[in-house]
């Protein structure tokens, strides 16, 4: 059975992921950006991950930028990547559908590593998302497959390591990669 993941654990994992990304960059380049924060969450608020957004309000080391659209989030992510800043896009499945052209144009054609955390709002616990009664849930994994975006599901606290893993994968592949948040975060 999929389980909710506590927000505090996700925030801690994001901190570690960003810290690691900064250290990796500092080893590679002579002029990494210098900031007080560790990284960015680019958010078009996802109902499923709202407790994470609430926890991030109290986390000064991670800057949250709320955007009007997921298209903007992808383009901002590209600007941050060029400038050397690590970020995560926190969106929901509907936001993925809303921004496919930008994902294609920016992350795929631009070979920009963009890591997505996508909330599967309305996902049922008794079936696979691909079999969901809700089109919003059903099309998410097939759409990512169509675009060749590697993805994994966060089905409980044991899966937290997938955040760092898929973040690094986006960098190794120079393109999009994401995790799908199966249950509302706690």
């Amino acid at each position: 059975m999929p389980e909710s993941i506590p927000a505090s654990l996700i925030v801690e994992t994001l901190r570690d992921t960003f810290r690691e990304a900064r250290a990796a960059l500092a080893a590679e380049v002579t002029e990494p950006p210098r900031h007080d924060h560790l990284g960015w969450v680019l958010s078009v608020p996802d109902t499923h991950q709202r407790t994470v957004l609430a926890a991030l309000d109290k986390e000064p080391a991670i800057r949250v930028l709320t955007l009007a659209t997921e298209d903007e989030a992808n383009a901002v992510a590209a600007g941050l990547w060029i400038g050397g800043e690590p970020c995560v896009l926190m969106i929901q499945h509907a936001g993925l559908y809303a921004s496919v052209n930008t994902l294609r144009g920016v992350a795929i054609d631009g070979q920009v590593p963009i890591f997505y955390m996508i909330g599967l709002l309305s996902r049922e616990t008794d079936r696979e998302p691909r079999e969901s009664r809700h089109s919003m849930v059903r099309y998410c994994e097939p759409l990512l497959d169509t675009f060749g975006v590697p993805h994994a599901r966060l089905e409980g606290p044991d899966d937290l390591r997938l955040i760092g893993q898929y973040f690094r994968l986006s960098r190794e592949r120079r393109g999009p990669a994401g995790v799908l948040v199966g249950m509302p975060t706690a």
């Binding site: 590679e28 002579t30 955007l67 009007a68 941050l80 060029i82 631009g110």
Partner: protein, 190 residues
């Protein structure tokens, strides 16, 4: 004012500012300032200002200048509020207002020349916004465009460009531009 003349004036004064052209400013800018410290928004219409915002937030020590299209800005108009909310002090957002979708065949944009991006930017919360109608006025405004605290929007009233991305030779692909600018900013160890 001809967009090429406006871009030449900006190129002469920009110093090490990062520039983000899109649509018809892309081939013109390529000819005037060949590829250095620039990245073109190509393939995701409307994304130039958000791309510029990401750059501005990552590198606050640099000026970032976006050369937006009027049709492009309409496609992602919410970016005005996003940019205003993020308050990048180093971002200048120039809108090349020609009233049409020149690149796709010069169809009039919704509202045509009546659309007032200055009022919209002010309404969204930009620190400053104004229109520039001719080259002399642009010359006088360059210190503000390059140095005034942002976010700043400047609506440039321009004629049609000589070339569009459809008629001009292709520039470097987007991924090569991304990598080139990234290396120029971060300076990898050799």
């Amino acid at each position: 004012m001809k967009p090429e003349d406006a871009l030449r004036a900006i190129a002469a004064a920009r110093g090490d500012a990062i520039c983000v052209p899109t649509m018809t400013t892309a081939p013109a800018w390529r000819a005037i300032a060949p590829e250095d410290l620039s990245v073109t928004c190509v393939g995701f219409m409307g994304g130039a200002s958000a791309l510029g915002l990401g750059l501005a937030l990552a590198r606050p020590e640099r000026r970032v200048i976006v050369f937006d299209g009027d049709g492009s800005l309409l496609m992602q108009l919410g970016s005005l509020a996003t940019i205003a909310g993020a308050r990048p002090r180093n971002l200048a957002h120039l809108v090349f207002k020609n009233g049409v979708y020149h690149t796709s065949g010069s169809q009039e944009i919704p509202g045509g020349l009546i659309v007032d991006f200055v009022t919209m930017a002010k309404g969204a919360g930009y620190r400053e916004a104004y229109a520039v109608r001719d080259l002399g006025e642009l010359q006088r405004c360059l210190p503000s465009i390059l140095g005034e605290e942002g976010p700043l929007l400047v609506e440039l009233w321009t004629t049609l460009a000589e070339q569009t991305p459809m008629t001009a030779p292709r520039g470097a692909p987007f991924h090569a531009q991304v990598e080139g600018l990234r290396q120029a900013l971060l300076k990898p160890h050799l």
